[in-house]
């Protein structure tokens, strides 16, 4: 590990340092504001360090980690998301009698796990990152709330998440073990040679197909795709809002990035069996996710179902990866699939952060406003928040002028290129159904409220959360109207895949 390689993993070091300092600070003297400040500063420093890292760019730091433009972009995205959630959770946790500092500790370690996942090209680091993220999430999900009737929700959600997540980790491990037993290496790149050779030659291929499916099932669980989605609504609803936000954005983002790298490098998409399975999963995710959300009144559950649908859309783009690497790289058409995935991921993170952000600003640990009734007449009570929330919802529904539309457009183009007509038809139907429940919320915000339901004072006045909402709104509208620059950035990011 030369000095230069150390420089490359600077963000990881800084984030680890922040978590250690937070621990020491907590041990010395608990202060909510200070721990939040330290975490925020640490994340910002990590972000800045990316500039240094970017200069040395594509270089492999030990066979386990690869620091390339793909890694840098997603690291930046994760750090930004983490930063936003940290700043949102400060007003949220303000009036919690219990210890607040541990939350930031868990958050920084979870971010660390995510960073490791994004950079990994080897199963050991991938697995390490996944488990660090999961274990920290168990903690964050279980973070105690003090509202009487829902006090036991976080604990219930966390236990469910723990057991199921452990089972899915077991699947991944066993799959990898089977692959390792047959191919002898755990490195993504080398595995691709083994898999393509294994899948290709007739009889023996079932073994490889089963092993790969085991791994993919584990990943599908984390991305809450249909047959494995049952945990998502309960965990989203049970967990406190910052934890849900973190799970929805960073949790999904890191997992998707890892899946993308694994798929494009390992060439697992060559086999028709796996692409068929993934197509079926995608169709069911889109239809299932949208249908589940249709009449849902609890916004957190509704957003969880909609995230299932969005992961379904993402899967469509993922399926076109294979056709990307197949053709000669360099011409604009080839890297379309990868671009579509990364653009859609960025859009999804921005939209989810925005939606959860508004909910966090409006509620606090004592009283969570997650029922649709709480948002009635929001347009006339607080136009700014209503505008942001409507923009986020319309973007989730895929209406133009928003990044969501361009994301959906990208997936459409990828789908057309991969000629997946069935999936595109499902996407059109899914979006059609999706309109119902997004618009129901917007309409509910438009109908004036007869009795007065004052919004919490604490959260509103703080400038920071509103500042972040403004940033998110700009991040939603500007790429929606002028997506050129973001597209160019992603094109360079994806080249290195």
């Amino acid at each position: 590990m030369t000095g230069e390689q150390l420089l490359l993993i600077l963000p990881l070091i800084i984030v680890t340092a922040t978590s250690v300092i937070t621990m020491l600070m907590v041990a010395a003297k608990r202060n909510h504001a200070v721990s939040c400040f330290i975490t925020a500063v640490g994340l910002v420093l990590a972000l800045l360090s990316l500039i240094i890292v970017a200069r040395h760019a594509p270089q492999e730091v030990t066979p386990l980690l690869l620091v390339d433009s793909f890694n840098i972009f997603f690291t930046a995205l994760i750090l930004l998301a983490g930063l936003a959630i940290t700043l949102f959770s400060y007003p949220y946790l303000c009036n919690l009698e219990d210890h607040q500092d541990e939350f930031y500790l868990l958050l920084s370690i979870a971010t660390l796990g995510a960073l490791v996942m994004v950079g990994s090209t080897h199963f050991i680091t991938a697995f390490l990152g996944m488990e660090t993220l999961s274990v920290c999430l168990y903690g964050m999900v279980a973070y105690p709330l003090h509202r009487q009737e829902t006090a036991q929700y976080p604990m219930e959600a966390s236990i469910k998440y723990l057991v199921l997540s452990a089972v899915s980790s077991g699947f991944v491990l066993f799959g990898v073990a089977l692959l390792y037993a047959q191919i002898g290496t755990l490195h993504f790149a080398d595995i691709s040679a083994g898999i393509t050779q294994g899948i290709a030659n007739g009889p023996g291929s079932e073994y490889f197909v089963v092993a790969s499916l085991l791994v993919i099932t584990g990943f599908a669980f984390k991305l809450s795709l249909v047959p494995f989605h049952l945990w998502t609504p309960d965990v989203y609803e049970g967990a406190p809002l910052p934890a849900t936000a973190f799970l929805a954005t960073v949790g999904k983002l890191a997992m998707a990035a890892l899946l993308m790298r694994f798929m494009s490098v390992s060439g697992v998409l060559q086999s028709d069996a796996i692409t068929n399975v993934l197509s079926i999963i995608a169709v069911f995710s889109i239809l299932g996710g949208n249908l589940l959300a249709l009449l849902q009144a609890n916004l957190k559950r509704l957003l969880s179902y909609s995230s299932i649908a969005h992961m379904g859309y993402l899967l469509i783009a993922l399926l076109t990866l294979e056709s990307a690497t197949g053709a000669a790289s360099g011409s604009p058409g080839t890297s379309l699939g990868a671009e579509a995935v990364s653009f859609y991921l960025t859009a999804y993170v921005v939209m989810s952060l925005g939606a959860f952000g508004v909910m966090m600003v409006v509620s606090d640990s004592g009283h969570e406003r997650d029922h649709i009734g709480h948002y009635q007449g929001l347009f006339w009570r607080d136009p700014w928040l209503a505008l942001v929330f409507t923009a986020m919802l319309l973007s989730l529904a895929g209406i133009p002028l928003t990044i969501g539309f361009i994301g959906k457009f990208y997936v459409f183009v990828a789908g057309v290129q991969g000629a997946e007509w069935g999936l595109l038809a499902a996407m059109v139907i899914g979006s059609g159904i999706g309109l119902f429940y997004y618009l129901r919320i917007v309409y509910r915000m438009l109908t004036p409220l007869d009795h007065d339901d004052p919004l919490p004072v604490a959260g509103i006045r703080d400038v920071i959360p509103h500042g972040i909402l403004l940033v998110l709104l700009v991040a939603l509208i500007v790429p929606g109207i002028i997506p050129g620059s973001l597209m160019a950035l992603l094109q360079s990011v994806v080249q290195s895949l």
């Binding site: 895929g398 133009p400 457009f409 595109l424 979006s431 309109l435 309409y443 438009l446 160019a488």
Partner: protein, 517 residues
């Protein structure tokens, strides 16, 4: 730059209207009025210096600008105005003014936000009529949707949530199908020419083979037919109209329906000549069914706005008929029907809105014999119903006659059945006059059949501002009826370009050249 200026004026105007609401509740409608008058002047100036003499049509493209937007996919901010889109702009701006006139007294709570939505819808529509880049076209196609949804959802009547949702979902899903079709076209341009492109002119030379071209064309057709609305996809219109506020109905009927027809003429048929040729008989059958079925439905309605909505579907059936006849008569007929129908249906909706504003009900069963108490309104209602049934000397007749003439050349049977629509049109139009304006005077609310003074006395006749709007529309219709050449000359070059770009392939057109000795 004129197009960009027009769209910017409308958008900034909208924002201004919303802001000035805080100062004084009467300011928003004034700003909206000024903005609309200014844009009307701009469009009229554009008409004047491009078409000085109606008899000698000039070159086709008046304005053609192109700026790069999303280089990755070869998407450009390409806008252009030619005769057809200029006429549509004229109609849009004129009806925008009428909508403001209609909303003058009706919209009282949150006027600022209302005029914001109104002007942004118009901006979206202006964009639709001028965009020549298919992605930009789709972009504006969706942009005009959200403010319209808000107008129906916030200021609508009792069942507005359902109607607004239905309107939004119908248009959005068909829009997605349209997007899919556009993308197929763009992708095949990439396959055949090496780079993505959404440019209207470049996409002309994309060659799709038989069955696939039909599918992509169907995608376009469904997208535009939902907005037209054509027969099977029309069921959102009556709900949207009966629940929308008057100004919303004026915009919806007068302008938004035309975007569907404009899309058909500009994109759906020229881009897929062979597929359109095979599809023409089916489209004309749909048009005929639309005309007759919706005329029958109109006759059965008691809600006045639903009745007018069904009549709009029936009239737009003529447009579809004219477009898919695909000869000069059919196209010009479709254009004239669009213009005339815009005025007629907006006026009828304003009248229906006026009645609802005065008697708080849309049910025709409860009111009759209004001629005695409201002579001016009844006279106007009579005039516009007669225009609606296609009385020669007014705009609708020219449109319907030319469409049928063109349709007859292409497909005899369809034209004959469509001509039956003329009879049904007279049946339901006069039935409305009979039901509401003739017979003894009875007003909703008073239960005795006699001369209910309770409600009737308070209902005052048309105010001067309303008379101004109706008067303008009467003049417009008479002008279109008596001297349509001004409008036909404007659209002549566009239609000629569209026709010779793929020849009038449809039907057995007896080219009259060799008949004459």
């Amino acid at each position: 730059m004129i197009v960009v200026w027009l769209i910017l004026i409308l958008m900034v105007g909208g924002a201004l209207a919303w802001v000035t609401e805080a100062m004084d509740s009467r300011l928003p409608r004034l700003t909206a009025l000024i903005v609309m008058l200014f844009s009307l002047i701009v469009v009229v100036m554009l008409c004047m210096n491009n078409f000085p003499d109606p008899l000698s049509p000039g070159g086709q493209w008046l304005v053609l600008e192109k700026w790069s937007w999303i280089a990755r996919f070869g998407i450009y901010l390409q806008v252009g105005i030619d005769g057809l889109s200029l006429l549509m702009l004229l109609l849009t701006v004129f009806l925008g003014l009428m909508a403001i006139g209609a909303a003058w007294h009706e919209i009282t709570e949150r006027p600022g936000f209302f005029y914001f939505n109104l002007l942004w819808t118009l901006a979206g529509v202006v964009g639709v009529f001028t965009a020549l880049d298919l992605f930009l076209f789709f972009f504006f196609w969706e942009v005009m949707l959200i403010p319209m949804y808000l107008i129906i959802a916030i200021w609508g009547h009792e069942n507005r949530a359902y109607a607004a949702m239905k309107f939004f979902v119908f248009t959005q899903v068909s829009g997605l199908i349209l997007l899919l079709a556009i993308l197929c076209l763009a992708y095949f341009h990439f396959v055949q020419f090496g780079r993505f492109s959404f440019d209207y002119f470049e996409l002309h030379n994309v060659v799709l083979e038989g069955r696939f071209q039909m599918l992509v064309m169907l995608g376009f057709f469904i997208g535009f037919a939902t907005k037209l609305p054509a027969f099977p996809l029309h069921s959102w219109l009556p709900d949207a109209h009966s629940q929308a506020p008057t100004a919303g109905s004026v915009l919806l009927a007068g302008v938004l329906l035309k975007t569907g027809a404009y899309g058909l003429i500009r994109f759906a048929v020229p881009l897929f000549p062979e597929a359109a040729a095979d599809f023409a008989p089916v489209a004309m059958t749909i048009a005929v069914i639309g005309i007759l079925y919706c005329a029958k439905l109109a006759f059965a309605q008691t809600d006045i706005k639903r009745l007018i909505a069904y009549t709009s579907v029936s009239h737009m059936g003529f447009v579809l008929l004219g477009v898919y006849a695909w000869n000069i008569y059919g196209l010009q007929g479709a254009l004239m029907t669009m213009l005339a129908h815009g005025l007629t249906s907006s006026a009828l909706f304003m009248l229906a809105g006026g009645l609802q504003h005065r008697f708080h009900t849309r049910d025709m069963g409860q009111m009759s014999g209004l001629w005695a108490k409201l002579p001016k309104m009844s006279a106007m209602a009579l005039f516009f119903s007669i225009a609606a049934l296609g009385m020669p000397g007014l705009g609708n007749f020219i449109g319907e006659f030319l469409s049928l003439l063109g349709a007859f050349q292409a497909n005899h049977v369809a034209a004959i059945f469509a001509a039956l629509g003329l009879i049904f049109a007279s049946v339901y139009s006069l039935w409305v006059i009979q039901r509401v304006f003739h017979g003894e005077f009875r007003v909703p609310g008073d239960h005795g059949a006699g001369h209910g003074e309770a409600h009737g006395a308070t209902a005052q006749d048309l105010s001067s501002s309303e008379m101004l709007c109706y008067g303008a529309m009467v003049l417009g219709l008479v002008w279109m009826g008596m001297y349509p050449q001004t409008f036909l000359a404007m659209s002549e070059p566009t239609m000629a370009f569209l026709l010779e770009s793929l020849g009038s392939f449809v039907g057995s057109v007896v080219s009259t050249a060799e008949v004459l000795p």
